[in-house]
């Protein structure tokens, strides 16, 4: 384990990724206690303010402190994205690995039905699920998890198939091990490495999918402090103060880059061949 961590931190991507994600996690855990102002407090006389000593990142269209809103919003934005990704990935991985193990007609049926669902683009799928359930953050989480599932299933299956052909799986089958044992102990761990990499990258996709849902009016709803919603609300005030748009955009970009770097670092660290 320490060996793995050392490998992770030795690569520049891994180190930088850990640093950024670490900072973000600090904001997630402590952010709402560190806000200098209430994230919803409006100040009619301090609207569209540029960054200053009183408001480090400036204020928005209602005179709300942007730093406070960003810190407050870290929790919902990041936790939601990670949760949606984890749920979607777990569901997909179980489906894909299971299907690969079963093989034959069952595999065929599961994967073809899975492919059929995947024919609906994930944003569109998310849009439909949210329209169905109502626009709010919890439903958006579920929608993104569902939208991620089919493609994660397909990726895990193709990885699992490669693994399945490997000698140690054949050996396990030859030893007469049970199905659950083979899937959980032999196949899944070897499937995990590529999936973890895909997953960390997916977190940034999830952050962006959330933001896009909010832009289309179907994600988080005002006065929530989700970064995506902050960006989409800020678009119409861009020409009054571009800070309102820049800060949450930068936060999203930083999160996405952080998780991508971490994903790459993990990939290198998990890959014993390197």
């Amino acid at each position: 384990m320490t060996d793995f961590l050392r490998r992770l931190l030795r690569s520049p991507q891994g180190a930088l990724g850990c640093l950024i994600v670490g900072l973000i996690l600090v904001a997630v855990v402590f952010g709402s206690y560190l806000t200098p102002y209430g994230p919803e407090d409006m100040q009619p006389l301090a609207r569209y303010k540029d960054p200053s000593a009183a408001h480090w990142l400036g204020t928005d269209q209602y005179g709300r402190d942007i730093l406070s809103r960003l810190l407050d919003g870290a929790r919902s934005t990041v936790v939601m994205a990670v949760a949606a990704t984890v749920i979607g990935t777990l569901g997909g991985a179980i489906l894909g690995t299971g299907s690969a193990y079963l093989g034959g007609r069952a595999d065929e049926f599961i994967m073809r039905t899975n492919d059929a669902v995947m024919a609906i683009p994930s944003l569109l799928m998310a849009l439909m699920v949210v329209s169905l359930l109502g626009s709010n953050s919890a439903n958006a989480l579920l929608a993104i998890a569902i939208a991620f599932m089919p493609s994660m299933a397909r990726i895990s299956r193709s990885v699992a198939l490669t693994v399945r052909k490997q000698d140690y799986v054949s050996a396990a089958i030859a030893r007469g091990e049970g199905a659950a044992y083979i899937v959980l102990r032999e196949m899944l761990p070897n499937v995990i490495a590529p999936i973890v990499v895909e997953m960390t990258i997916r977190v940034s996709f999830a952050v962006m999918l959330f933001a896009t849902l909010s832009f289309l009016g179907l994600g988080a709803q005002p006065p929530a402090t989700d970064w995506g919603l902050m960006v989409s609300e800020a678009r119409q005030y861009l020409h009054r103060s571009y800070w309102i748009l820049m800060w949450p955009s930068a936060a999203i970009a930083l999160t996405a880059i952080g998780f991508n770097l971490l994903g790459d670092g993990l990939r290198d660290a998990l890959n014993p061949r390197t």
């Binding site: 073809r112 059929a116 024919a119 609906i120 849009l127 940034s204």
Partner: protein, 315 residues
């Protein structure tokens, strides 16, 4: 790759459309909106609404409604838009043409840029070129399309005045004017895919170059270039086909946002306004058409995969 495989694969497309049709019909039936109210508007009397429900068969059992709708779809009749009162099919197919222009251009731009970028980064792993490509791809996957699009319009159109900010002119009507208006949307729609695919090409290639198989090829005394092209690329690009085919789904979704911001009357915008106004027949038809497009692209990708896979095995 026999004829029976292809036939089976085509049958699977129909299976896909069948599953999608059940899904989309189910979802639109549960959507919280009354089709009759949507059609007649806020001023309709209750009697008029009830008469319309009767006429549209909204009071029939759900399986009967599905059969009625599916029969229409098979015959190419997607019903009538609740919003405009016009037949859905012709309007959506002309929108699909617009979207395909956008999608094909974005895909082409992506392939032309992403694959060389990925190869370059893998070959020069750890060196300047790798870092530059890596940086570009990190930036590319770090912002949602609606943000990149907003920034692109502000910088390229508003500040520099280089390109028209929005609007759509069919290429057949005014080729240069139409193309100019497509540059920004195509760029925005392809950025994320360029980043994703170049990253995938890079990591696949790096992986492949570390396999025993490649080591063996090296040991045979083949030149590095030959090892890379004959053995490395072939194996590395194979999974990339799947990735690109998967990304087409992403592209189709991204097109919804791009069309919304750049005022392009494609299928994404048709779907978006249908979802907003609960125009059920348009949602149903739009999702079916998107799913069909995606299935056909993946069919092509699978054929290609099977073809290349065979050659690799017997190489």
């Amino acid at each position: 790759m026999s004829a029976s495989y292809i036939l089976k694969r085509i049958a699977l497309i129909f299976y896909t459309l069948f599953i999608v049709s059940i899904l989309v019909f189910g979802i639109t039936q549960i959507l919280p909106a009354d089709a009759a109210v949507m059609m007649l508007g806020e001023n309709a009397t209750d009697e008029a609404l009830e008469a319309l429900r009767q006429q549209m068969g909204l009071n029939d059992p759900i399986w009967a409604q599905y059969l009625h709708w599916a029969t229409g779809v098979v015959q190419g009749d997607f019903g009538t838009s609740l919003r405009t009162g016009q037949p859905v099919g012709p309007a959506l197919f002309s929108a699909l043409g617009t979207s395909l222009t956008l999608a094909v251009l974005a895909l082409a731009v992506m392939l032309v840029l992403a694959i060389p970028m990925g190869i370059l980064a893998a070959v020069r792993r750890g060196r300047a070129a790798d870092l530059v490509v890596g940086f570009v791809s990190y930036i590319g996957v770090s912002l949602p399309e609606f943000v990149t699009a907003t920034l692109a319009v502000v910088v390229v159109a508003d500040i520099w005045g280089l390109l028209p900010p929005a609007g759509y002119v069919p290429l057949a009507e005014d080729f240069w004017g139409g193309l100019q208006r497509l540059i920004l949307p195509v760029s925005v729609a392809s950025i994320m895919m360029i980043a994703h695919v170049s990253r995938m090409v890079r990591s696949e290639l790096v992986d492949v170059m570390h396999t025993d198989y490649i080591r063996a090829a090296r040991l045979k005394g083949l030149t590095p270039r030959r090892v890379l092209i004959r053995h490395g690329l072939r194996n590395a690009l194979l999974p990339t086909i799947t990735i690109v085919a998967l990304d087409v789904g992403y592209l189709l979704g991204g097109i919804i946002v791009v069309e919304e911001i750049f005022s392009i009357p494609g299928i994404g915008r048709a779907l978006m306004s249908a979802i907003q106004s609960r125009d059920l027949p348009v949602i149903q038809a739009g999702v079916m058409i998107m799913a069909a497009t995606y299935s056909i692209v993946n069919f092509a990708a699978d054929l290609m995969y099977a073809w290349l896979d065979k050659r690799i095995q017997y190489d």
